[in-house]
Amino acid sequence: MADQILICRCEDITKERLLEVIAEGYETIDEIKRATRAGMGPCQGRTCRQLIAQELSKIYGVPMEEVLMPTFRAPVKPISMGTLADAHKKGGE
């Protein structure tokens, strides 16, 4: 059943895979992200971060507030390179 439940929809990481890497010794969202790519897709963890945190909270018996969050970085929504490149040209004028 766990192999049918999706945690990271962008990178197709199932709950089964998540539990596998936790069993291998990866304990934090940062480590799980780098070991599986969960959170590295187009939505950058907006969907899966909390789901992974929930699993860690259950497994390690810590409240959600104490699960270590990965660093939040810009941009909050994806921006095209062209938009940024044009802004750079404008700024130079």
Binding site: L6, R9, C10, E11, D12, G41, P42, C43, R46, T47, K77
Partner: protein
């Protein structure tokens, strides 16, 4: 199927237009998102995920999750749940990674 009567909201759908979905003509309105028009036309599968090739459709429907990626007018990775449809637009199912036309 669209909601025609609602106790509170008035839908200002704009003008009726047609666009293309996988080569077939679909009806839409200028103030609707692409996926709203597709949904009304009965389309649920918008593409497939890159690794497991799962059929994908709407998930968050608010431009947050990237589940609804389609290729629109040759532009890949378009979030059709937040982009409005236009006359003559070419909307294609995106299976996995979109292709950038150079």
């Amino acid at each position: 199927m669209r909601i025609e009567e609602h106790p509170i909201l008035d839908f200002d759908r704009g003008e009726k237009i047609t666009f293309f979905y996988n080569g077939q003509e679909v009806e839409g309105y200028t103030n609707e998102t692409i996926v709203a028009a597709l949904h009304a036309a009965g389309v649920r599968k918008l593409g497939a995920s890159p690794e497991l090739h799962r059929p994908r459709g709407l998930f968050c429907a608010i431009g947050n999750c990237s589940s609804c990626f389609m290729t629109v007018d040759d532009e890949p990775n378009v979030r059709v749940c937040v982009v409005k449809c236009k006359q003559g637009m070419r909307v294609e199912e995106q299976n996995g990674r979109g292709v950038v036309r150079v």
